[in-house]
């Protein structure tokens, strides 16, 4: 028996096969070995939600998940839910409602909201609050984020919604 483990999994729809030390954390595999830097590490103890990824569609804290546990499964990161140019419907709703300021928690929120809406496309206010209870934001005070998610639950933002000129940026997905 050895510390080195072979794993194969799907990362944002692409097959990945590699050998890793068993004590590798998922966030380090994705950020440092594979180079997708969209996922953020913050509290490092499953409290803040900044490092949220989806494992077979379920939200997990990638800071406290062993990379060996994704063997044979599907991992989705913020890069996997972001179009190559422009923004997704969920991301647009956050921009339209001012649901982000410094942006550090945003990838985690987007992943959590993705999982929520996949499981429950029209959540009630209470369901939204309960689901997002485990994602922390130190800038917005949560009201704007909540309004963004409410607008998604009410189908007020579509994939091709236009952003007002003042909120347009050249959004470009960076992958290495």
């Amino acid at each position: 028996m050895t510390n080195v483990q072979s794993i194969s999994f799907s990362l944002n729809g692409q097959p990945v096969e590699m050998e890793i030390p068993a004590h590798t954390l998922l966030i380090d595999l994705i950020r440092d070995r594979i180079g997708l830097k969209g996922t953020k590490r913050s509290c490092d103890m499953e409290v803040c939600g900044a490092c949220t990824m989806l494992l077979n569609g379920e939200p997990i804290s990638s800071c406290t998940t062993l990379a060996v546990d994704v063997d044979g499964k599907e991992v989705t990161t913020i890069e996997g839910v972001t179009p190559l140019s422009g923004l997704s419907r969920i991301q647009k709703a956050f921009v339209l409602h001012g649901g982000l300021q410094c942006g550090f928690c945003t990838p985690g929120f987007i992943m959590a909201v993705t999982a929520l809406l996949n499981a429950n496309p029209h959540p009630t206010d209470e369901e939204i609050r309960h689901y997002l209870h485990g994602n922390l934001c130190r800038c917005t005070g949560y009201v704007k984020i909540f309004e963004a998610v409410k607008s998604l639950a009410a189908k007020q933002v579509s994939e091709n919604a236009a952003l007002p000129a003042a909120r347009q940026r050249k959004f470009r997905l960076e992958t290495s």
């Binding site: 028996m1 510390n3 997990i60 999982a115």
Partner: protein
């Protein structure tokens, strides 16, 4: 921080898992890792080998058995228990407790067995399972044994489980009366929680017996014997007044750790408030069931 290196072994039977942990060098059972990995990352504990039990079939079973007891496999995640139809029908308070453990990410991988075996004093399940009169079945190299939920946690982060004993199932009688649970939280973990289960004869209006547990105050869940004593045999409608009559005495017996979340007096007061609200809810549940 990164955990120190360890070997990783997947197992598909309980016997293999127990023998893998029992081999030379320190091994540990591993499932969701929501508590264990935190401790390994902080390097407050160290292991040479993690033995993954996620591939063992049957440990995530939930059934009502022939003896009218509920069985919950130790590897059931909080999410699984929260959504399970058997638990929601027979112990909705437990489903709701599990739906509110930590956060959505912890609930999707964290297990009830792991929660119990960690012995974290601010956890919800140990208090509730004490009130439900649960027994925890451990399987080791020499066979299985049952430990009552009240006796399982010895102190903070310390249980009676031997390192090579795997918790396999949690068993408790199907409740025949109201079960209620309340907690008061500061941040992620409860600073006080109160679980309460009344057993009643079918169709009767008096309490056959009551089990009341208060958790997150001392190093382990504690029974409120004075409250249990006064409720025994009492008509349901008199419960609230009876509890009030012994409340001060019962709360005085509690072992309470003061910390940054409050003084002993403050926490004692909270426990009393939660207890009376639980009792009100239990009475209301009986009214609805009539």
């Amino acid at each position: 921080m990164l955990p120190t290196p360890f070997e990783f072994e997947r197992t598909s039977t309980i016997v293999d898992a127990v023998s893998a942990v029992g081999q030379e060098g320190e091994g540990m059972f591993y499932s969701g890792g929501t508590e264990l990995l935190l401790a390994l990352k902080m390097r407050v504990i160290h292991t040479e080998r993690l033995v993954d039990i996620k591939g063992i079939p049957g440990l995530d079973r939930i059934v009502l058995n022939d003896a009218n007891e509920l069985e919950i496999g130790s590897r059931c995640t909080h999410k699984r228990i929260a959504g399970d139809s058997v638990i929601r029908e027979h112990v909705p308070a437990l489903a709701s407790l599990c739906a509110n453990v930590a956060n959505v990410r912890v609930r999707s991988v964290g297990t009830i067995g792991g929660n119990l075996c960690f012995g974290e004093p601010h956890a919800d399940p140990p208090t509730m399972l004490g009130a439900l009169d649960a027994r925890l079945v451990l399987q080791g190299p020499d066979g299985t044994r049952s430990v009552h939920a009240d006796d399982f946690i010895r102190s903070e982060l310390e249980t009676v489980r031997e390192p090579d004993e795997l918790m396999v199932v949690i068993v408790f009688p199907r409740p025949t009366g109201p079960v209620t649970y309340r907690r008061f939280k500061h941040g992620e973990r409860p600073s006080v929680n109160v679980g309460m289960a009344w057993s009643m004869e079918a169709g009767a209006h008096s309490i056959k017996s009551a089990r009341v547990r208060v958790g997150a105050l001392g190093s382990r869940p504690q029974p409120l014997k004075a409250v249990e004593g006064v409720l025994k045999g009492l008509p349901v409608d008199d419960a609230h007044r009876a509890i009030q009559s012994v409340l001060a005495e019962a709360l005085d017996e509690l072992d309470i750790n003061e910390d940054r979340h409050g003084s002993a007096d403050y926490k004692r007061h909270l426990a009393g408030v939660l207890l009376l609200r639980n009792a009100e809810e239990a009475v209301a549940m009986r009214e609805r069931a009539k």
